[in-house]
Symmetry: C2
Subunit: 295 residues, 2 copies
């Protein structure tokens, strides 16, 4: 998707390298280490890491300051996918074009790998990278723990599970996604604001709106792609939502209305973005490529 | 076990109250919140919290400074038990005298509850309690994430799972328990040293020896109790180790030699303790009652 963008390509290479370099490879049981490598290497569009890097850059921070939060949020994302794919959860055998962790290894390993990737995210924020004061790191730990926890990511997962059992209206779906996808996009924004030491309240609000709209646009688009793409293109099982009678923007609004809502939400993303970057910036390229993505 | 000890009783009441008060009860899906309450309320000997409180006190720190780490380590302990009991892991239906989380709720909920309790532990260290500087809190996050992660607690769980498949010698068992039980006892010591701002290297070493020996003594005793007590007394399934052909100190050494090893290890605990408290202190009472425990 973003291969053509030089800066994004470099940042993806950077986060991919750090994701593996910061794994606990010494004194770790070898099977655990192999499985942690498996779920963190290759695949993954690294959108959350790119958001942290490019927002930090747009806000005047250094890439060194963005390293720890960019890697931490990808560890959290990896852990949530590993647990989400478990038989007791979404029961998905395919992820990022490869067998899911519990298929490639086993369920017990997948549970522990997810647990360990979450722990590692906080270890990473506490001590990895540079250009960050203890106070800033601690605020990042606060932010990530609040948004990844029961009020954020995990709350969204819980609502999502409950949603397969009942009919949901639009506000129900919005609450699910505010947690499931939205919380992590918001965390990208909050951590970039911290990494770049932004004190301008108005700028901070634009960043928050941008991340919130982007998370929403991304999710609506995910629902549309799930309903209209093949598993091969997606790198994960397609058509799952309809099969599991899961309420999505598409099942609720129909594909046309979902597409209109997506378009409207992308406009809001672009409006907020205009307040963040006033000269040409790679962040605009990232938003464009996300809007055009087909997987 | 520690009912007779007034100070311990008060500290248990204190940690029990905080464990529930610091749960994310607003904006949380109600099933998730109910299940998080379920695994954190009642039951639990709260040994790890007591260790943090009493060590901090013995080292000259305040109980307010010990609140966040005491609660955080109990959230981590709760999460590890919830995941450990899952069908894909130890498959245990009983915990703290009640049905395990996945039995009382369901597997998906138990996975998410464990995840959320881990996240909450770091949120707690980052912002709960008082008498702690940002720098100290961050060092606690570093310490807990290192010791609860792949090199500590989770590494021990992974080795434990692998151990059911093969014959282990003593060093193998020791490595499992250094991770599974030992790491969290060590974390209690490290966080108490931080909470009390101890700069005396020799004192710190005694605390480390104390926690390491205590963790080991506790685990050997756990193996002995599993082999010789009833489920009713233990509040969890007894005799599981032998049934699952799991290598333990008892299966490896026999009950007599395991008891001798336990006795020797308890002596080491008492020796280190003598360097930490020189006047009568509740910590001595805690050690005594742990040594005499029958569940």
């Amino acid at each position: 998707m973003i291969d053509g963008l030089t800066q994004c390509g470099k940042l993806i290479a950077r986060v991919n390298e750090l994701l593996l370099a910061w794994l606990p490879n010494d004194e770790t049981p070898s099977e655990l280490h192999t499985a942690m490598r498996y779920v963190n290497e290759n695949g993954g569009k690294r959108i959350r890491a790119l958001l942290v890097y490019l927002l930090t850059d747009a806000l005047g921070g250094t890439m060194e300051a963005a390293d720890a939060p960019a890697v931490a949020i990808e560890y959290i994302h990896a852990y949530s996918l590993v647990h989400d794919d478990l038989p007791a959860m979404d029961d998905d055998a395919m992820r990022r074009g490869k067998p899911s962790c519990h298929v490639a290894f086993d369920e017990a390993t997948a549970i522990l790998v997810g647990d360990a990737c979450q722990t590692l995210a906080f270890e990473c924020l506490a001590k990895r990278g540079s250009d960050l004061s203890a106070a800033t790191r601690l605020l990042m730990v606060t932010c990530l723990s609040e948004l990844a926890g029961a009020r954020g990511l995990i709350g969204g997962q819980m609502r999502d599970l409950a949603a397969t059992k009942k009919t949901l209206a639009l506000p129900g779906i919005q609450r699910i996604h505010a947690g499931k996808t939205g919380a992590m996009f918001r965390a990208c924004g909050e951590m970039a604001l911290l990494a770049a030491s932004v004190n301008d309240a108005s700028k901070a609000n634009h960043v928050r709106s941008f991340c919130e709209s982007l998370g929403l646009a991304f999710q609506i688009q995910d629902d549309i792609l799930d309903a209209s793409s093949s598993s091969e293109t997606l790198g994960k099982t397609a058509g799952k939502d309809a099969k599991s009678h899961k309420a999505t923007y598409v099942t609720l609004l129909g594909i046309d209305e979902a597409q209109q809502l997506a378009k409207k939400t992308w406009s809001r993303v672009t409006e907020s973005l205009a307040h963040i970057v006033t000269t040409p910036h790679e962040l605009t390229g990232l938003v464009d490529s996300l809007q055009k993505r087909r997987y």
